[in-house]
């Protein structure tokens, strides 16, 4: 069922500030870094929001930290469940540990062993089922009912989105002169939170979303005026590969995001190598998407604009990219 844009859940600045009190008790306030080369290349004054320094290596711990405070005592007693072989799994596991809650994570059987191990190390129970995410997700829904757990959606949840938005508050706190924020889009959870939070601080701040043109689910949905399911998805970048964006995230993006730009996976991968070579930061594919958009001149703003690029995470298998080639 689609939500009309007019009923976008209203998240106020005070809601983000409330969320930040809880989130900042556990998550790091990550630094804004400079990049001399990226500033020179683009003519903007650029800052990089270094979320690869976050606990778990990505922004994903912020949302669950806020989500869990809204659970009832009984829900907390029973625990939470999610299906993810990536950053959401680690975010949920870490935050559940902090709340002393049980967390179950369902992953496909072919999930990378290091991700399974990392999620277990954060204290979650890992259940492996099926060969693709959809199958793992079906299993998660089944366990949700069987064990009375609370299902934690990876992006389409307003309390989760509010938690992710605390990243936007930090940007504004450290760099109130910001003119433009460039944010990757997968399911839309991060950009939904960040766009609402930044515009609550200053409605003139422009928000640019970046998607892979090999799977532009949000751009297609915004163009269609409703959430569309991609028939075919060629994007293979973790965190950007989403077949159908959320109803809530769609309605927020439609209202708060100024533009969505897209590039092919190949160019995003090249930007990932560029960031590693020149910024000395290990970034994952999704995190390189905003940099790719900047390097390719897709972000339109007056010269000298103050631009924040959200580097969403750093969880990449270095061995997999050692020949510097995509695939």
């Amino acid at each position: 069922m689609s939500t009309p844009a007019s009923v976008v859940p209203e998240v106020k600045l005070s809601d983000f500030q409330e969320a930040a009190k809880v989130v900042s008790g556990f998550a790091y306030h990550t630094p804004l870094l400079t990049s001399r080369l990226l500033s020179e290349r683009t003519g903007f004054d650029i800052r990089l929001k270094a979320e690869m320094f976050q606990k778990g290596g990505s922004y994903k711990v912020r949302g669950p930290m806020n989500k869990f405070r809204h659970l009832s005592h009984e829900q907390r007693e029973r625990g939470v469940i999610c299906s993810s072989a990536g950053n959401h799994a680690q975010g949920v596991a870490l935050a559940a540990g902090r709340y002393k809650m049980r967390a179950v994570v369902v992953m496909a059987k072919n999930a990378t062993q290091s991700k399974v191990d990392a999620t277990r190390a954060y204290g979650a129970e890992v259940v492996q089922h099926g060969m693709i995410w959809d199958e793992a997700n079906e299993k998660a829904k089944q366990l949700t009912v069987e064990r009375g757990l609370t299902y934690i959606h990876p992006f389409d949840d307003i309390q989760l989105i509010t938690g992710q938005g605390t990243l936007g508050l930090e940007i504004y706190e450290d760099f109130p002169q910001v003119d433009v924020a460039v944010v990757p889009i997968g399911g839309g959870g991060l950009i939904s939170g960040v766009s609402m939070a930044l515009k609550a601080c200053n409605p003139r701040i422009k928000i640019i979303g970046v998607e892979s043109s090999d799977g532009p689910g949000m751009k297609k949905s915004v163009e269609a005026g409703r959430v569309v399911t991609l028939e075919k998805i060629d994007c293979i970048i973790d965190g950007l590969r989403v077949k159908r964006v959320g109803e809530t995230t769609f309605s927020i993006v439609q209202r708060f995001v100024d533009d969505i730009v897209t590039l092919p996976d190949k160019e995003i991968f090249d930007a990932m190598i560029w960031v590693m070579s020149h910024c000395k930061l290990v970034v994952e594919g999704a995190a390189a998407a905003p940099v790719a958009a900047l390097l390719h001149g897709l972000v339109k703003a007056p010269s000298g604009s103050k631009v924040v690029c959200v580097l969403s995470g750093g969880n990449v298998n270095l061995e997999q990219i050692k020949n510097l080639k995509w695939n």
């Binding site: 630094p31 870094l33 400079t34 001399r36 270094a50 690869m52 320094f53 290596g57 190598i273 590693m276 070579s277 020149h278 910024c279 000395k280 930061l281 290990v282 970034v283 750093g314 270095l318 061995e319 990219i321 050692k322 510097l324």
Partner: protein
Amino acid sequence: MKKEDVTPPDATLATPAGSERRIIPFELIEDARKHVYEAAVRTPLVRLNYSEAPCEIYLKLENLQPIGSFKIRGAYNAVRLMPASERSRGVWTVSAGNAAQGVALAAKKAGVPCKVLVMDTAPATKLDSIRRLGAEILKAPFDQCWKALGDRRHPAMSGTFVHPFEDDEFIAGNASAGLEILEDLPDVDAVVAAFGGGGLSCGIACAMQARKPGVKVFAAEPETASPLARSFAMGSAQDFPDWKASWVDGCGGKSVFPRMWALARHALAGSVVVTLEEIRRAMKLVAERNHVIAEGAGACAVAAALGGKCGGGKVVAVVSGGNIDLSKFLELVSVA
């Protein structure tokens, strides 16, 4: 600025303490601190995400400086403090690759030309960056470069010489990193930084001596080039006869310069020698757990802290730089 010309103390260490003790005036460090952000950035201090370490390790991320290493601090300060008449002649330096970038950027900001004599151990990424900054490069064998550092001249170079580590102005610039560490982690117990010429570790040690003398500052050296450890063992400035080139190209000199020994022997708590394999593992750990790229010298300090020889408590490892060819980095961290 007073330029002391110190000869190495004799091997018995019988010389009365203080007779040739070199000091960097704290006013010079404070002055450097006021100006350093005209070119450098205040880098973050982050906790190493590794619970099995023998101490609480923090990383001072100097690899995130605009040139990818701490050298911009000292280089900018040295060029800034030069009399205008000397600066206008243009500047030159000798470098393993990082100091050259620092001096080149400082020269670019001052609008003067820059020439660099670069050791042939420098990786392509360092050479590319120097070129991009507009400096003129002459590559030379390591020995020839090391000699030019001692002579402070070279037939192919012209302009005013910026020594990449041994002068007060350069060291005072580096010391600003030490002041930042103290602000971010007031109860720090020890700091460890790679030792090439010694400018970084001694700079930080001078800041600690002035502000918090209880903090121990260690040098870290690779086993392939550890003249400081040898100097501490012998009680005087030594060379390192078995010197070998390696991918740890940003630290590990062929000798300890006498003027640096005059500082190091009093300011540093010792030199921790690590193997190339320990450095490789530290590089991998830092990349996987903290998602930053450390070059060999930067990982060398982390390896020293991980080995437990910098003591327990809160230990800051200075990730001095991140300038390593990405293909080499990926090759090193891909090994289990």
